[in-house]
C-alpha cells in the first residue's frame, strides 16, 4: 500500500483539559491511520476519550483544552494531485483550517435534536456551508444541490421539506439532514460521532445503511465513533479500542472479533447482548467503574478492573505488542511478542 493511501495520519495525540488549575489528561499518545475509502471504528465506553480524540483532530475544542501532537497529516486528493496538510500546525479557527472543514472533513454529530439551529430552515442550514466554500455559486444552484442531496438521502418531498424548520422533522429525518449538511461539500473524510446513539433501533439501521452506501458509492473514508459493537461489526474495516484515553487494541475487524486479545476488548465483547440468550443467564458486565481521569495512577488504566492483573501492570507505561501483523495490543500478557509503538 502506498503511503498516500492513508488519508489521515495522527501521531502521538495528547489532549488535556485545564480544570480548577489542574491539567487532566484525557487523550494519551493516540496514533492512528485512516486508510482511504475505509471505515475506522473507535470503540469504547462513555468518557474514554473517543469524541475528544476526533474533536482534537478537527480542532473543534473548548478553550480550556490543550492539544498536542507530533503531527496530524491529512492528504487531500484532488484528481491525481495530492496535497499534504498538517492540521496540528493550523490555527483552529483560521482560514486554512476553515477551508478544510466542509469540503474535506465533514462531521456528523451525536444528537440530531440539538445539532441543528432551531431558528433557520433546514435547507438554508445545509446550503450555508456550500455557499461559504463556493463564493461564486448562486442561491438557486445551491438549492438545487441541496435538493439533490435530500433526494439521495431519502428525505421525502424535498421541495417542501427544505423550507421546514428542524422542529418539524422527526429524529431520523433530522439526522439525515445532519448527514446532508456534512456531505454537501463532498468531503473526503466523514467523522461520525455516535451518529445513531440518540435514535431508535430501526432508524439506526436505516441511517447506518445510508452511510455504508455513501461510502461504497463515493469512496469516502469514515471515522465512526461508537460504543455499539453490533455497529462496528456491520460497518468497520479497522477497529481501535480505547480505554481511558489510550488505544488498548488496534486491528482489522477480523482481528478484533475473531481474536480479541486485550482483557478489556474481551470483556466488551462479552457484554454485548445476544438474542436467544438462555433464560436466567445474566448479561455479563465489566466489574468496577471507569476511574476518574484526574485520579489515575501509573501503569495500565484497566488494572483495577482486569482479571489478569499482575504487579508489573501497575508500573510505568504499558507498551503495545504486535500479536499478529497489523494487530496491536497494549497488555503485558503479550510481552513475548514484538514491542511496537
Amino acid at each position: 500500500m502506498n503511503e498516500k493511501d492513508i488519508v489521515l495520519s495522527v501521531k502521538n495525540l495528547n489532549t488535556s483539559f485545564i480544570s480548577d488549575r489542574k491539567e487532566i489528561k484525557i487523550v494519551k499518545n493516540v496514533s492512528l491511520d485512516l486508510k482511504r475509502a475505509t471505515t475506522l471504528a473507535i470503540v469504547g465506553e462513555s468518557g474514554c476519550g473517543k469524541s475528544v480524540t476526533v474533536h482534537s483532530i478537527v480542532k473543534l475544542m473548548p478553550k480550556n483544552a490543550r492539544v498536542k501532537a507530533d503531527y496530524i497529516l491529512y492528504n487531500q486528493k484532488r484528481g491525481d494531485k495530492i496535497t499534504e496538510f498538517d492540521l496540528s500546525k493550523l490555527e483552529p479557527y483560521g482560514k486554512e483550517m476553515r477551508a478544510l472543514r466542509g469540503p474535506d472533513i465533514g462531521m456528523v454529530f451525536q444528537d440530531p435534536m440539538s445539532s441543528l439551529n432551531p431558528v433557520y430552515k433546514v435547507g438554508d442550514q445545509v446550503a450555508e456551508g456550500l455557499l461559504e466554500h463556493n463564493p461564486k455559486m448562486s442561491k438557486e444552484e445551491a438549492k438545487e444541490q441541496v435538493l439533490a442531496m435530500f433526494r439521495e438521502l431519502g428525505i421525502p418531498d424535498p421541495e417542501n421539506r427544505i423550507n421546514d424548520f428542524p422542529y418539524q422533522f422527526s429524529g431520523g429525518m433530522k439526522q439525515r439532514v445532519v448527514i446532508a449538511l456534512a456531505m454537501i461539500c463532498n468531503p473526503e473524510i466523514i467523522i461520525a460521532d455516535e451518529p445513531t446513539t440518540a435514535l431508535d433501533v430501526t432508524i439506526q439501521a436505516q441511517i447506518m445503511e445510508l452511510m455504508k452506501s455513501l461510502q461504497t458509492e463515493k469512496n469516502k473514508s469514515i471515522i465512526l465513533i461508537t460504543h455499539n459493537m453490533g455497529l462496528v461489526a456491520e460497518m468497520a474495516d479497522e477497529v481501535c479500542v480505547m480505554y481511558m484515553g489510550r488505544i488498548v487494541e488496534f486491528g482489522t475487524l477480523e482481528h478484533i472479533f475473531n481474536n480479541p486479545s486485550h482483557p478489556y476488548t474481551k470483556a466488551l465483547l462479552r457484554s454485548v447482548p445476544v438474542l436467544g440468550m438462555e433464560e436466567g443467564r445474566l448479561l455479563e458486565t465489566i466489574p468496577g467503574i471507569t476511574p476518574n481521569p484526574a485520579e489515575l495512577k501509573e501503569g495500565c488504566e484497566f488494572a483495577d478492573r482486569c482479571p489478569d492483573c499482575r504487579d508489573e501492570c501497575r508500573k510505568g507505561t504499558i507498551p503495545a505488542f504486535e500479536v499478529e501483523p497489523g494487530h496491536k495490543v497494549r497488555c503485558l500478557n503479550f510481552n513475548s511478542f514484538k514491542e511496537v509503538d
Binding site: 478537527v58 473543534l60 472543514r101 439551529n117 456551508g129
Partner: protein
C-alpha cells in the same frame, strides 16, 4: 404573522377589562372616602350635606354601576378629574407622559446597547479583561440602590463640579440645556439596568455558544464572526429581549424613585403624590396605565420572539 399580531392584540382587551375591575375593587377595599379629601373638616359640612354631595356624585350607587360608569367614560375619552387639583386627568397625563417616556426610552436604548454589547463580548472573550471589568461593574451596579447612586451623581457632577443641573427637566437655554438635564437621570437608570442585562446577556450567550448547533456551524467551516452573529446572537437574544421588554413598564411606572430624586416631572411623581393625597381618580387611571404598559410589553415580547423563533410563529 399579521394574524398572530391581531390575535395577540385582541387578547389584550379582556385582560385590560379584568385589570380595570381589579383596580376598581382594590381601591374600593381600601375604604378611602374621597369626600374626606375633598371637603375640609373646617367647613364642617353637616352630615346631611355630605350625604347629598355623595348622592350627587353617584358615590352611593352599587359598585358595579359605578365601575361601568367609569369604564364607559374612559372609553369615551373622559378620564375624570383630579380631586386635589380639579384639572382633567387627561391633561395631567398629557403634560407628564412625554417626560417619562423620554427618560424611559433613552435609558432603555442606552442600557440595551451597552448591556447587551458588553455581555456578548464578555461571553465570547470569557475570562478576558472585559469580562472581569463587567463582573465588577455588575456587582456594583446591582448592589447600589438607584436613589443612592442618583444622589452620588448629583453630589459629584451637579453640586461639586456644576456640570449638570441638579434636577428638573427644563431650564431656559434651549435644546442644549434639555440634554444637560437628561444626562444624570438617564445615566443613573442606564447603569443600574445595564448591570442586570449585562450578566444576563453574557450567560445566555455562553449557553448558546456551548450548544451543539454552534459546533455544527463551526464544522461547516464558516468564519467565526458568522457563527457568533448568525447562529449565536440570534438565539441568545430571545431570553434577553424578554428582560428588555419588561423593563418598559418598570421604567414607566417604576421610575418613581428616580423621578423624585431628580424632581423629574413625569408619571412617577404623579403616582407618588396622588397616593399620598388619596386622589382616587388619578390613582385609578395611572395604575391602569402601568398595567396597560405591562400588557404592551408582553405583546412586544410575543412579537419579537415570534420574529426570532419560527417555533413560536408557526407553532399553532
Amino acid at each position: 404573522m399579521l394574524k398572530f399580531i391581531i390575535k395577540k392584540l385582541l387578547q389584550m382587551i379582556p385582560m385590560l377589562l379584568v385589570i380595570s375591575l381589579l383596580v376598581f375593587i382594590g381601591l374600593e377595599l381600601t375604604g378611602i372616602d374621597p369626600l374626606s379629601y375633598m371637603v375640609s373638616p373646617d367647613m364642617a359640612g353637616s352630615a346631611e350635606n355630605l350625604e347629598r354631595l355623595r348622592e350627587q356624585m353617584g358615590l352611593n350607587d352599587p359598585l358595579f354601576t359605578r365601575y361601568f360608569r367609569w369604564v364607559s367614560e374612559m372609553l369615551r375619552g373622559d378620564f375624570g378629574y383630579s380631586i386635589v387639583s380639579g384639572t382633567p386627568i387627561s391633561q395631567i397625563i398629557a403634560v407628564r407622559i412625554p417626560a417619562t417616556i423620554e427618560l424611559a426610552l433613552l435609558a432603555l436604548v442606552f442600557s440595551t446597547i451597552i448591556g447587551v454589547g458588553i455581555g456578548i463580548v464578555s461571553a465570547i472573550k470569557q475570562n478576558g479583561i472585559i469580562d472581569y471589568v463587567g463582573r465588577v461593574f455588575a456587582v456594583v451596579g446591582q448592589s447600589i440602590p438607584q436613589f443612592f447612586f442618583g444622589i452620588i451623581l448629583i453630589q459629584i457632577f451637579a453640586v461639586s463640579m456644576g456640570w449638570f443641573p441638579v434636577g428638573q427637566r427644563i431650564s431656559p437655554g434651549g435644546n442644549w440645556s434639555r440634554i444637560q438635564h437628561l444626562v444624570l437621570p438617564v445615566t443613573t437608570l442606564t447603569l443600574s439596568m445595564c448591570a442586570v442585562l449585562m450578566r444576563y446577556a453574557r450567560n445566555t450567550m455562553l449557553d448558546v455558544m456551548n450548544s451543539d448547533y454552534i459546533k455544527t456551524a463551526r464544522s461547516k467551516g464558516i468564519p467565526e464572526w458568522k457563527v457568533i452573529i448568525k447562529h449565536g446572537f440570534r438565539n441568545a437574544m430571545r431570553p434577553v429581549l424578554v428582560i428588555i421588554c419588561f423593563r418598559l413598564p418598570m421604567l414607566i411606572g417604576g421610575s418613581v424613585v428616580i423621578e423624585s430624586v431628580f424632581s423629574w416631572p413625569g408619571i412617577g411623581t404623579i403616582i407618588a403624590s396622588s397616593v399620598i393625597a388619596g386622589d382616587m381618580p388619578v390613582i385609578m387611571v395611572t395604575t391602569l396605565m402601568v398595567a396597560a404598559s405591562i400588557l404592551v410589553a408582553s405583546f412586544l415580547v410575543d412579537v419579537f420572539t415570534a420574529l426570532l423563533d419560527p417555533r413560536v410563529r408557526l407553532g399553532d
